[in-house]
């Protein structure tokens, strides 16, 4: 457990929208340099894209931001707070939430329980002693309401009683997003949230993401393969290849940049043209 002072509570709608700032991040696994001197700034209140081919270091960057790996060098800030060296749970309590490429869902539990836990795990983490083990009625209501709002926003209240393990991939993606929403985070990292979704589901998803940013005013950093989604939601895009930042710019710039086509889309993209 961290001995550092507990971060401020972030209950209710977010008033301040901190930026996520990564500076000179390097992550090595043995001899392999997975992320090499990457700096990026994802602003609060907007959606920033992080794209690149498989193995470019996107998820590794995410993991460094959320404390799942130990960077060799570099710093990560959320607003004014430096995150380096703190546990994953501490960063979450500070307001940094995330979803996972492989969807880390509570498969044996219902949709409502999953999403409620999005808030309850945060509340429990902030409490001491018995507060970690038992919920007060007020907290129960708080988690229930947060879950209800998130389900409403994601259009899945009808699934509340379903077991998550039984859902389709598209529904599971929405459950994971709703769970992160219910957490009331101030900044969200979304790791390929649309993979496994069909075109109409992706459109729906884009609408939900835009609505989330508008309503809650939070910032999102989005790792994504689906260019339709990236175009639809991202105001600014960073491109990674072999662990290095090779390009950054607005959505239109990035999608037409030759270097991005060459690195990311490869020869197959040429055939599509």
């Amino acid at each position: 457990m961290s001995l550092t002072a507990e971060p401020l509570a972030a209950a209710g709608p977010v008033v301040d929208a901190p930026d996520l700032v990564v500076e000179h991040l390097t992550v090595r696994f043995g001899g392999l340099v997975a992320v090499d001197d990457v700096s990026l700034q994802a602003r609060g209140g907007v959606i920033t894209g992080l794209i690149g081919p498989n193995g470019a270091g996107k998820t590794t960057t995410f993991n460094a931001c959320t404390g799942l790996n130990s960077p060799t060098a570099g710093t990560v800030h959320l607003g004014p707070r430096k995150l380096d060296g703190h546990s994953s749970a501490w960063r979450a309590r500070l307001g940094l939430g995330r979803t996972f490429q492989r969807m880390e869902l509570f498969d044996t539990m219902t949709v409502a329980e999953n999403i409620g836990l999005g808030r309850e795990a945060l509340v429990a983490g902030r409490r001491r002693w018995t507060g970690r083990l038992f919920a007060t009625p007020a907290e129960g209501t708080l988690c229930h309401d947060a879950a209800a709002r998130a389900m409403e926003h994601c259009g899945i209240p009808h699934l509340a009683g379903s077991t998550v393990g039984d859902l389709s991939t598209g529904q599971r993606r929405l459950v994971e997003l709703a769970r992160a929403m219910a957490g009331g985070f101030r900044f969200l990292l979304l790791d390929e949230p649309s993979s496994g979704l069909d075109v109409s589901e992706t459109e729906l998803f884009a609408g939900i993401l835009n609505g989330l940013v508008e309503r809650e005013g939070i910032g999102i950093l989005l790792v994504e393969h689906d260019m339709a989604l990236v175009r639809a939601v991202c105001s600014y895009i960073y491109v990674l290849d072999f662990g290095r930042l090779i390009y950054e710019g607005s959505a239109a710039d990035v999608l037409s940049a030759e270097i991005v086509k060459a690195a990311y889309l490869g020869s197959e993209a040429a055939e599509v043209h």
């Binding site: 696994f29 309590r93 880390e104 869902l105 539990m109 836990l117 919920a135 993209a269």
Partner: protein, 646 residues
């Protein structure tokens, strides 16, 4: 130096055998992701087969050896490969339980056929002494060391040179890719299990003549391989082999030193426990990133356990309680069995909390109960009132449970299971005999309570005392599961990373659940001793023993009993304690491990569910299979989505 040489030679010989067994273990683990806890049992099987063929049927030893190798190595290897394939996508708990079940099963069969007493076995390799500078060496020792060196060296060369060897290394990393490259992953896996099983069988046959033919001892001795495998981080074959040699020599030298100084007490058992200590330390100091969990990337989604309506729960609970209240008046002289059963309900409930609710495997649960049993007995002896003594017994188990949470924080899945396994053995072999626990006689007086004017020291009276505690413990489990902690634990079992990512530190959760589970197991232990009036470190469930093998039986039975927190505890206890008591004589003792071992394997293969749950869920699984895997299909074709963007 000269006085040490014979010990070094003996250590080198045994170490070579451990090394070979360990290399076989690592090979199968690396290629299939299944850590074979039954590896030692397989070695014992080979040794018994050879004994049977050679000394009872009368075959010459080379033929007997070859035949045993064929059965316990080749045939068993092929069967195990199929089993490993079926388990590939099962949960960690299911994978561990399946091979633990196999261990229990093989050991049970051997004991049922050959008896549990050790049998003398004739050496088959030449015993002639060869004079080397400074030391006399038996021909057998030279042959064993050379044979193992050739076998392990040959395997190593094969790995680094041959195509199938290289492919073996790739198979766990990405079986699909290997299939695309034209090498069948099945062929590779089959090869690995063949070699691994033959190494196990050979080590059993080589080891038996230097000891005696004893199913428990042989199974345990090839667990020496665990320590060696840990030295190689469950990955490097040469390091594993060297680890075996090191452990062999180390154990021999410690024997020498302990003997020389005439040290008494638990330290005498240090040599035989060295590998477990090596195992435990290696697991604690090896960098976590080197302990890659094999095969865990393909785990299928777990299904929710069966749940019942509130009404069913209430009616069922009330009916169960009514039956429990009536029991003393209908079972007659069998009553002590039912008291044991109630204590086991608590034990199963506490194990279920750990394994089923939080998804962590403990293979040392009986050690917590042993701590509780001995503590309660000593506390009552020291004049504590009985209820307080039981409470203290539970509390005493808590720091032990919390201690085990340390490896649990570092390690996950199968490595935690291995660590708990080693921990249980070390507890029994180093501490059971200590004055803090059962003492040198392995037994300690444990009186029944005298509570007020009640006759709680009679069978019937004590039954109701234990019933009360059991009901309280089950209520505690229900309460915990419904509380915030229970929700977080269930969430942790499904997706630990997500719990951390949402703000709750999962390390604290692990310490909590291990402590709580140990507390309840300690209470259960405290209740077991007074049934016979003596808390004893004997083996066997029926006599209220605390042998580590009971831990293995517990987890196999829990898997057969299902996943409902309360019901599975009751069912498990009825299966393990009550039903066998109605079989006559020794039969139950014989059949218990055989039945539960095989059922646990079955239960693990059908998905870690009880059979009822499996039947219900097979429909859902089929639906899911029809849905296919859109995630992979989508990620592979990003260009299509680009087109959609235009």
């Amino acid at each position: 130096m000269k006085t040490y040489l014979p010990f070094i030679v003996a250590g080198l010989t045994n170490g070579s055998i451990y090394g070979m067994a360990a290399v076989g273990l690592v090979l199968t683990y690396k290629t299939s992701g299944i850590f074979n806890f039954a590896h030692g049992a397989q070695a014992a099987l080979a040794a018994y087969l050879m004994f049977e063929f050679r000394e009872r049927v009368g075959m010459p030893w080379p033929l007997a050896g070859l035949l045993s190798l064929l059965l316990a190595g080749v045939v068993a290897g092929l069967i195990l490969e199929r089993g490993a394939y079926l388990l590939a996508s099962a949960s960690v708990a299911a994978r561990v339980t399946a091979t633990v079940g196999l261990l229990v099963f093989i050991q049970g069969v051997l004991i049922a056929i050959f008896g549990s007493a050790s049998l003398p076995i004739k050496a088959f390799l030449p015993q002639k002494l060869v004079k080397l500078p400074g030391v006399n060496v038996r021909g057998e020792q030279i042959i064993i060391v050379a044979l193992v060196l050739v076998a392990v060296g040959g395997l190593y060369l094969f790995f680094t040179r041959a195509k199938l060897g290289l492919a073996t290394q790739a198979v766990v990393d990405d079986p699909a890719l290997l299939g695309l490259a034209g090498t069948s992953p099945t062929a590779v896996r089959r090869f690995a299990w063949l070699v691994g099983s033959c190494f196990a069988a050979a080590s059993g046959m080589l080891l038996a003549p230097t000891l005696a033919l004893d199913a428990r001892l042989l199974t345990l001795l090839v667990f020496f391989a665990f320590g060696a495998a840990a030295v190689g981080a469950f990955s490097s074959l040469p390091l594993t082999y060297l680890g075996g040699i090191g452990i062999g020599i180390g154990a021999a030298l410690v024997t020498k030193v302990v003997g020389e100084h005439g040290w008494q007490g638990p330290v005498q058992s240090l040599p035989v426990n060295l590998p477990f200590i090596v195992l435990f330390v290696a697991l604690l100091v090896t960098p976590t990133r080197k302990l890659v969990e094999r095969g865990s990337q393909v785990v299928r989604r777990p299904l929710a356990p069966l749940t019942f309506s509130r009404r069913t729960n209430l009616v069922g609970g009330a009916a169960g309680l009514a039956v429990a209240v009536v029991v003393p008046h209908v079972v007659g002289a069998k009553l002590p069995i039912y008291i044991t059963a109630l204590a086991y309900v608590i034990l199963f409930a506490s194990l279920g909390l750990l394994v089923r609710t939080s998804g962590q495997v403990s293979l040392c649960h009986i050690a917590f109960a042993a701590v509780g049993a001995s503590t309660a007995a000593r506390a009552v002896g020291a004049g504590f009132p009985w209820p307080l003594a039981v409470l203290v017994a539970g509390l005493m188990a808590v720091p032990i449970g919390a201690l085990l949470a340390i490896p649990a924080i570092r390690l996950s899945g199968v490595y935690l299971a291995i660590a708990t396994f080693g921990f249980g053995l070390v507890m029994q072999r180093l501490f059971y005999a200590s004055m803090f626990m059962f003492g040198g006689t392995f037994a300690i007086r444990s009186p029944r309570p005298k509570l007020g004017g009640l006759h709680t020291n009679t069978d019937v009276g004590y039954y109701y005392v234990v019933l009360g505690v059991a009901v309280a413990c089950l209520a505690l489990v229900v309460l915990v599961r419904r509380s915030r902690m229970g929700r977080l634990l269930r969430a942790f079992a499904d997706a630990p990373t997500a719990v951390d990512a949402h703000g709750t530190n999962t390390n604290e959760l692990k310490v909590l659940v291990f402590s709580l589970s140990a507390f309840m197991a300690g209470i259960a232990g405290a209740l077991i001793g007074p049934i016979t009036g003596t808390a004893a470190a004997a083996s066997g469930v029926d006599v209220g023993g605390f042998d580590f093998s009971v831990s293995l039986l517990l987890i196999t039975v829990l898997f057969v009993a299902g996943r409902q927190p309360v019901l599975s505890a009751v069912v498990g206890s009825v299966l393990l304690v009550v039903i066998p008591s109605y079989a006559t004589g020794e039969t139950a003792q014989k059949w218990n491990p055989i039945i539960f071992g095989s059922l646990a394997i079955l239960a693990a293969i059908v998905g870690g569910r009880s059979l009822v749950e499996w039947l219900r869920s097979s429909r859902r699984l089929r639906e899911r299979a029809a849905e296919g895997s859109p995630v992979r299909a989508r990620a592979a074709v990003p260009e299509l989505s680009l087109e959609g963007a235009r």
